[in-house]
């Protein structure tokens, strides 16, 4: 049996390319047979002509023989497939409207979803590029059950090291920066101080040289550094002899001991790594370490967390011996182990999840639309199915053809979707905020593509094939007689229901984007507390021992500022350290003098030159600003902002108050926001000449110092001149980002804007799809009712009445969709509340506006079929079946 099957296969394969020859042979074979028959009859006495006819009659119809033979020369499966594909293509070409809309819908659904999912996946879900990254955790704490980022001092790191049961490795890291000298231009590099086990913990070994040794962890240990691959290539020409070389960081010599492999990224972005040995005698008791750990093989994260939680009490006993922490608060704290990736992206988790929800919606809408289109079309194909069935096509044959056609459609849509996904991903990444984590690794996700393609195609196929099934069971003569355009009303209702569903889903998306748009507009109009127009900012760093003291720094800055003020067009200039407005900045712990039982508190901290407030247009509310008279030898003074006075001075006049450390408050200025959607934090300002040099250097490790220049107009035009003058003051000064304050303002809301753009794009798509869906349903239903319309018109209805009827029907569908959509939106928008500002999740204005837009679009979609219906000639309609 198997041999026979094999032979058959071989025979068919052999025959495939030889069809013409085989056809010819067959004809000849049959001709031979007839000739022989004829000859025999002639020998028996029949006249030749008669014999010929007799022979043919006896033989019967050669057509059947030829059919059977032809069947053996090929694979039937391939034949029917080719046939179906040709037929399918023809059908699709003959209905360009349907085809275009279906392909577009599929492409949008598949493409948009794949692009977004790839981004979300890359940012949130993609595992870190380390060895067994799921075993890497960060030690932090839960406060009232919510995870909080927690940093530790060196001593506290030691505590964890001595209680490390569940872990095979622990490491501490802290971010820092250096001025890298020795190259053609002084350069600012981001660095990470790490303990000796760090690279081992991540499971990545240096490509050249070695890791840090344990003895390098201790205070006063050797100054050693490991370079990143990029830095090595860029500044050291990828020279392997770099190991052992000395490089100047902040003016101090560091020895290079290793180079990391290409593509390696540490847990915070860094161009080089150095040891934790130097960090100890600094503000805060030496620390600000992020503590990471690798779980032992058979230990789970929950086990580790419960172990750490049990250490909460002993930890508090050891590090809070004076019980400054109240018991109530202590009870709400517990330590835990968090998967490292969770902490990294926490701030962007919610919006990205919202996006995921949105793309789910869009996919749903796309599927619904395709289904709708299929069903509308199916009704017009009843006749075709009936005729084919009557001509002998089996049910399976018809279904198979429809299936092939739909797969073809799906493939077309999928191919377009792939293109759209690729293009979409790149456009989105170009628009994305620059601090999107892992942005470099984001690529089109194959799984996402496969998944969405499958879902979209399946729905198309399902809704395309189902009607074919139903028809083939129907009474054929019925279908042919009635012109096949009147099916059961059940299918029509389903189409309407789907259209309403689409409208409701679109409404939800549009409400979401409307709320975000409202938020964005509110944010744009918030007064940031200063005047951002026409101010240039340049980042500089003055770290290193060469300045030696606060006075040295102040002198340098004044020298530079003096030069800058001579540039025509400059109105004022200043320097600020430890943070710009609208960006993260330094903070410090202070105590107000004279309040015996009051606790100390944390307040934002800035170091400034005297012209700062004037340059940024921050109003002076009380007292005075700093002057050149405030120097290292005079009374230490500070200026506070209104929030500081409000929250901590309780209505007393701030001027004349002192801090416990002796500084006198001499002025109060207006509040300046650090985040547009949060109230300004209490802030105090210190004149540059009076800063504690150590703390300035510490803060500069985390925050750039900025030179601010207010100009008459177009600040960017003066960039080169300002830079030149800065270099004249200090040729070794690295200059970082140069931006206008307006750009800074706009960057602070970049992520929100990105999100808003995305969701609005989705809203737009879904609106388009819903409109198309409505159009489809209405036209289809009107085409079926042509007969009815004809009767109405013959009985006296005018164009207007018909228009009203059609639009009325459409309006009904839309209103149902809107009502459902509003209910859905009300239920779902509360998940957006953490992203909103100035708008409630149930903002009535947004809801009403969106509903009106939807209704307007829907009416437009109904208008075309309405006009068509109204133009019907009653005579034609009555005759039309």
């Amino acid at each position: 049996m198997f041999r026979e099957w094999l032979n058959a296969l071989w025979f068919r394969l052999k025959s495939l390319p030889r069809r013409q020859q085989l056809e010819h042979d067959l004809d000849e074979e049959l001709e031979f047979h007839l000739a022989m028959s004829q000859q025999k009859l002639v020998e028996q006495g029949m006249p030749p002509e008669e014999a010929r006819y007799a022979a043919r009659r006896a033989f019967g119809n050669p057509a059947q023989t030829k059919e059977t033979a032809r069947d053996l020369w090929t694979f039937r499966f391939l034949e029917t497939l080719a046939q179906d594909l040709r037929y399918g293509l023809r059908q699709l070409r003959r209905n360009p409207g349907f085809t275009a809309v279906a392909v577009l819908t599929l492409a949008l659904g598949i493409g948009a979803n794949t692009a977004i999912f790839s981004i979300v996946n890359g940012v949130l879900l993609e595992p870190l590029p380390y060895y067994e990254p799921q075993q890497i955790v960060q030690i932090s704490l839960l406060y009232r059950g919510q995870p909080r980022n927690m940093n530790f001092s060196a001593r506290q790191f030691d505590f964890w090291k001595s209680h490390a049961e569940p872990f095979q490795e622990l490491a501490a890291t802290t971010e820092v920066g250096f001025n890298l000298g020795g190259a053609s231009r002084p350069e600012r590099v981001k660095a990470l101080r790490v303990s000796s086990g760090y690279f081992r913990l991540l499971g990545v070994a240096p490509a050249l040289g070695r890791e840090f040794l344990q003895e390098e962890d201790r205070t006063g240990g050797p100054d050693v550094a490991i370079l990143s691959h990029v830095l090595w290539e860029r500044d050291f020409g990828a020279n392997p002899k770099v190991i052992g070389r000395s490089i100047p960081l902040d003016g101090m010599p560091f020895t290079v001991v290793g180079v990391m492999p290409a593509g390696f990224e540490s847990t915070s972005p860094a161009d080089l790594w150095t040891t934790i040995g130097q960090v100890s005698k600094t503000i805060g008791g030496g620390g600000n370490y992020t503590v990471l750990a690798r779980l032992k093989q058979n230990v789970s994260q929950t086990q580790a967390s419960s172990y750490l939680s049990s250490l909460t009490r002993p930890y508090i006993e050891e590090f809070d011996p004076n019980h400054e922490l109240s018991d109530k608060v202590a009870k709400q704290i517990s330590f835990a182990a968090f998967p490292y990736s969770y902490i990294v992206t926490r701030s962007q988790r919610v919006p990205l999840l919202v996006l995921l929800g949105a793309i789910g919606f869009v996919l749903l809408i796309a599927c619904v639309n395709v289904a709708n289109l299929q069903m509308a079309r199916a009704a017009t194909r009843n006749r075709e199915f009936a005729i084919r069935s009557a001509m002998g096509a089996g049910r399976l044959r018809i279904v198979r053809q429809v299936f092939t056609e739909n797969v073809l459609l799906g493939l077309l849509g999928g191919a377009c979707g792939l293109l759209l996904a690729y293009w979409g991903l790149h456009s989105l990444l170009a628009l994305a905020p620059t601090d999107l984590p892992h942005a470099a690794h984001i690529a089109l996700d194959g799984w996402a593509l496969g998944f969405t393609a499958l879902v979209a195609m399946l729905s198309g196929i399902l809704f395309g094939v189902a009607p074919a099934f139903r028809t083939s069971r129907m009474d054929l003569s019925e279908a042919i007689k009635e012109g096949g355009e009147r099916g059961t009303s059940g299918r029509y209702r389903l189409g309407s229901a789907l259209a309403s569903a689409e409208v409701s889903l679109s409404l939800v998306l549009l409400v979401g984007s409307g709320l975000l748009l409202g938020t964005f507009i509110h944010l744009l109009h918030i007064n940031p507390g200063f005047d951002p127009h026409n101010v240039l900012s340049l980042q500089i760093w003055t770290t290193g021992p060469q300045f030696k003291s606060g006075t040295g720094l102040a002198n340098l800055y004044e020298d530079a500022l003096r030069r800058i003020r001579t540039i025509p067009g400059v109105q004022s200039a200043a320097v600020v350290a430890a943070g710009l407005p609208l960006e993260r900045g330094g903070n410090d712990y202070v105590h107000i003098a004279g309040q015996k039982d009051a606790e100390g508190f944390s307040a934002d901290y800035r170091e400034i030159t005297p012209a700062y407030f004037r340059t940024l247009g921050i109003p002076l509310l009380q007292g005075r600003s700093f002057t050149m008279a405030d120097s290292a030898d005079t009374q230490k003074v500070i200026i506070v902002n209104a929030a500081f006075a409000r929250e901590h001075l309780h209505g007393r006049d701030p001027i004349g108050e002192h801090l416990r450390s002796g500084e006198e408050i001499v002025g109060v200025v207006g509040d300046v926001k650090s985040h547009l959607d949060e109230p300004a934090p209490p802030t105090f300002f210190v004149p540059m000449a009076q800063v504690n040099y150590q703390s300035d250097q510490l803060f500069q490790g985390w925050f750039p110092t900025s030179v601010l220049v207010r100009t008459g107009q177009n600040p960017m035009a003066l960039t080169r001149e300002v830079e030149t003058n800065l270099r004249k003051a200090d040729p070794h000064l690295p200059i970082g980002q140069v931006r206008t304050m307006e750009e800074v303002l706009s960057q602070s809301i970049a992520f929100r804007r990105f999100l808003m753009t995305l969701i609005t794009a989705f809203g737009g798509f879904s609106l388009l799809l819903a409109a198309v869906g409505l159009y489809g349903v209405i036209s289809y239903s009107m085409s079926r009712r042509t007969h009815e319309i004809g009767i109405r018109m013959a009985l006296g209805a005018v164009r207007g009445d018909v228009l009203k009827m059609v639009i009325g029907q459409g309006l009904k569908l839309v209103l149902i969709g809107v009502v459902i959509g509003v209910a859905e939106a009300l239920a779902l928008t509360r998940f957006l509340s953490s992203l909103l500002y100035g708008v409630k999740p149930s903002d009535p204005l947004t809801f009403i506006a969106v509903s009106l837009i939807l209704i307007a679009v829907a009416l437009l979609a109904c208008y075309i079929p309405a006009r068509r219906a109204a133009k019907v000639d009653p005579m034609v309609a009555l005759r039309y079946e």
């Binding site: 058959a8 031979f32 047979h33 033979a69």
Partner: protein, 114 residues
């Protein structure tokens, strides 16, 4: 296969025709017309092959590898397609013959008078 159209299931008819064709070709190669004539002759005019069924049967047998075909010159100098048995065909024929004998014996037993 009989001129008489009222026959048993087409399956049986088909299988029987195949068997007769193979048996005919066991005696040597032949073209389609010759096969039909041979069956007619050998059965002493009882069996006449329905011509429209002959060639489909031949082609199907060739597909299955029980026969092979080649072009040759007939007795009256015309080009004709000749068929002959393959080894596999021979084995198949033996099996079919055995089956046929068993079946006819069984039918005979059932139909026995007394």
């Amino acid at each position: 296969m009989m001129q008489d159209k009222k026959e048993r299931s087409s399956d049986l008819v088909q299988g029987t025709l195949d068997m007769l064709i193979l048996r005919t070709l066991a005696r040597g190669r032949a073209h389609g017309y010759a096969i039909a004539e041979s069956i007619h002759l050998k059965s002493e005019d009882v069996l006449r092959v329905e011509e429209s069924a002959l060639y489909p049967a031949l082609h199907r047998l060739e597909l299955r590898g029980l026969l092979v075909s080649e072009w040759g010159i007939s007795e009256n100098n015309r080009r004709a397609k000749y068929y002959r048995l393959t080894a596999m065909g021979r084995k198949y024929l033996e099996g079919e013959l055995e089956r046929w004998n068993r079946m006819t014996a069984a039918i005979a037993r059932v139909m026995e008078t007394a």
